[in-house]
């Protein structure tokens, strides 16, 4: 306990953990968020500058408005903090060790170009220190099983939702005699569907971060209202645009559908950035939140809720990572992905963002990139892509098997080393 009251220890841990969190957040922005926005740039729906601007804003909003659930899972859902009731400093050191282990692994992976997930790194690291500090009983096995299951199921869910949406779009729009007429009807519906999913998941059970409590009926009412306004907006937008005879509305079916889905893909790009912020901010902020709460109260009861400023700073750091480290990634992806048309990009992004957001709502830390990969494969399965390399599935699975043991062992070693030092 005396460690916690020592000002030197307090500031040393707080500063070092915030710096490592910042590093992890920058890396998330430079890799995962860049990947998430890559499909929009690749299809030509967004320019690089617009993609950067929108992803900064919506990633931040996602982190602040819906990032609390997964953050809570990382800070107290994988290991039981109550087991450290008499030794809170060990929890603080453990979380710091986890952050450092994840940071080192992410740094190495970035250097060697290994396709690993930040989420898996941080979860593996937390489990590693938990096992050494208390033993296997420290792990919330049920919670961990849910997380691991979500890693397997989330890409599959992304594939089902993305592929399903593409199937509907192909059947109801692309295969119609007059595709542009069908697109005119379905575009506002798809727009309102996106708004409904976002607003429902954001307002479900209210917003803890701003102390807003809502009943289920209120959530339904608000989300349906938002969706209806979205539908009207979409409907009016198309009709106003249609009056302009020189616009793309007077062009052929192909150009019409392409343009319309270009607009829809801007919406899904924002949706992806929002969903990304809601899930991945936890990887950087989760352990820091546990450290902060323990240091502030001197107790492991996690009485201090995840602070809005933590999520906000996490969101900002991820956005900064995108600008500083991710620009190159986005440029490369934008040039390489010629297979992603606006229709396919919309479907893949919708599938990925919906899955990520639902997982965020359930407090499940998942790999956003893996979900996006699953979603793109789902669209490909519906014969949507010219050429997809299915060996990527092997790559995803191998990333689990490499990351988890490595970060577990590394976190264990760092924790052991910290204990000798302190």
């Amino acid at each position: 306990m005396e460690y916690l009251v020592s000002a030197k220890f307090y500031y040393l841990v707080l500063i070092s953990s915030s710096l490592i969190s910042l590093y992890v957040a920058l890396n998330i922005g430079g890799n995962d968020l860049a990947n998430a926005m890559g499909t929009s740039v690749g299809s030509g729906a967004l320019t690089l500058k617009k993609a950067l601007f929108l992803s900064m804003i919506f990633n931040f909003l996602g982190a602040v408005l819906a990032g609390g659930h997964v953050t809570n899972t990382i800070r107290k859902g994988i290991i039981d903090p109550m087991l450290f009731l008499n030794t809170p400093e060990r929890l603080v050191l453990g979380m710091l060790a986890s952050l450092l282990a994840a940071g080192i692994w992410i740094h190495l992976a970035s250097y060697y170009g290994l396709p690993v997930s930040t989420t898996h790194s941080i979860v593996g690291a937390v489990v590693g220190f938990g096992v050494l500090a208390v033993g296997p009983k420290a792990i919330n096995w049920k919670g961990l099983l849910n997380v691991v299951l979500s890693w397997i199921l989330s890409p599959v869910a992304g594939a089902i939702v993305g592929g399903g949406i593409y199937w509907i779009v192909r059947r109801q729009i692309l295969r119609q005699e007059r595709a542009f007429r069908a697109a005119k009807l379905y575009a506002p519906l798809l727009f309102s569907l996106v708004l409904w999913v976002v607003s429902f998941s954001v307002f479900f059970e209210g917003l803890k971060t701003i102390n807003l409590k809502l009943s289920l009926w209120e959530t339904w009412g608000i989300s349906l209202g938002v969706a209806f306004i979205g539908f009207l907006f979409g409907f009016l937008f198309i009709h106003i645009k249609e009056r302009d005879k020189t616009s793309w509305f007077s062009s052929g079916d192909s150009a019409y559908v392409d343009k319309l889905f270009g607009y829809l893909q801007i919406i899904t790009a924002c949706y992806v950035a929002f969903a990304h912020g809601s899930n991945d901010v936890a990887n950087a902020v989760g352990p820091f939140a546990a450290i902060y709460s323990t240091l502030k109260t001197g107790s492991v009861k996690m009485e201090v809720e995840v602070q809005i400023w933590m999520l906000g700073l996490g969101g900002l750091a991820i956005g900064s990572g995108l600008i500083s480290l991710g620009l190159n990634v986005m440029e490369t992806i934008g040039k390489k992905i010629t297979e992603v048309t606006k229709v396919r990009g919309f479907c893949a992004e919708f599938g990925a963002a919906t899955t990520i957001l639902v997982c965020s709502r359930l407090g499940l830390p998942i790999s956003t990139t893996h979900v996006l990969v699953g979603s793109v494969i789902g669209v490909g399965f519906m014969r949507g892509m010219s050429a997809l390399d299915m060996r990527v599935i092997l790559n995803i699975v191998s990333s689990w098997f490499i990351t988890l043991p490595f970060t577990m062992i590394l976190s264990l070693i760092i924790y052991w080393f910290f204990n000798i030092l302190v």
Partner: protein, 221 residues
């Protein structure tokens, strides 16, 4: 870059398939011109054009090998891979048959009998028409695979029907032509030379039709 998202995407083989089709189609004009030069007795011009066709055939083979050699097992495509390769094979055979026809002509410098000139020219004209259809067929197929829209698919089906029709016309002409050769010539070498030439030229449209049949299978819903 840590998470290589773009490793999911494989270079589309359709781009190269289009390049291959362009090479095949670029030979149709030369084929027609070469046969006309042969009929006129301008053998130098004929040899030059035949050499050009042989050169382009070699180029097309290179594209074909590139497509086949860069198609890993783990690639997922919007069409069946077997059908894709069958299509490529037939498209390539169109050019092989053009080359074979010109090579066959080049083996001996005959004077084409007056009564056969009209049939031969008409047959070559129809063959050129069938080969030229490969270009819009490929453009429409690419648009369809890219957008998934119904309109290019409908147009594509119409082009496939047109190729089938031309092939049927060439088949009828081939039969009549061979009959005429047998009825009017008594020189066995000439009969062999002419019938083999007619059959080889006719095989060009056969392969064009086979390619279009594969295309039809590829766009089947």
């Amino acid at each position: 870059m840590r998470t290589k998202f773009m490793f999911l995407f494989f270079k589309s083989p359709f781009e190269n398939l289009k390049r291959h089709a362009e090479v095949v189609v670029s030979c149709s004009e030369m084929f027609e011109e070469a046969v006309k030069a042969y009929i006129k007795g301008d053998f130098d011009r004929f040899e030059t054009l035949t050499d050009k066709v042989a050169e382009l055939e070699s180029k097309a083979d290179g594209i074909k090998r590139n497509i086949r050699g860069h198609m890993p097992k783990g690639v997922l495509m919007p069409v069946d891979k077997y059908q894709f390769f069958m299509y490529l094979r037939e498209q390539d055979k169109v050019l092989d048959a053009i080359e074979e026809s010109l090579f066959w002509l080049s083996y001996r410098r005959w004077r084409i009998e007056e009564e056969f000139v009209e049939e031969l020219e008409f047959m070559v004209k129809l063959t050129k028409k069938a080969i030229d259809y490969l270009s819009p067929m490929m453009d429409l197929a690419l648009e369809y695979f890219k957008t998934g829209l119904r309109e290019p698919r409908t147009k594509l089906k119409s082009v496939i029907r047109d190729i089938r029709q031309v092939e049927h016309e060439v088949d009828l002409l081939e039969r009549e032509f061979i009959k005429k050769v047998f009825q009017t010539s008594t020189d066995p070498i000439y009969v062999f030379y002419a019938t083999r030439l007619i059959e080889t030229i006719s095989s060009i449209t056969d392969h064009a039709q086979n390619a279009s049949d594969m295309m039809r299978a590829m766009i089947a819903e």
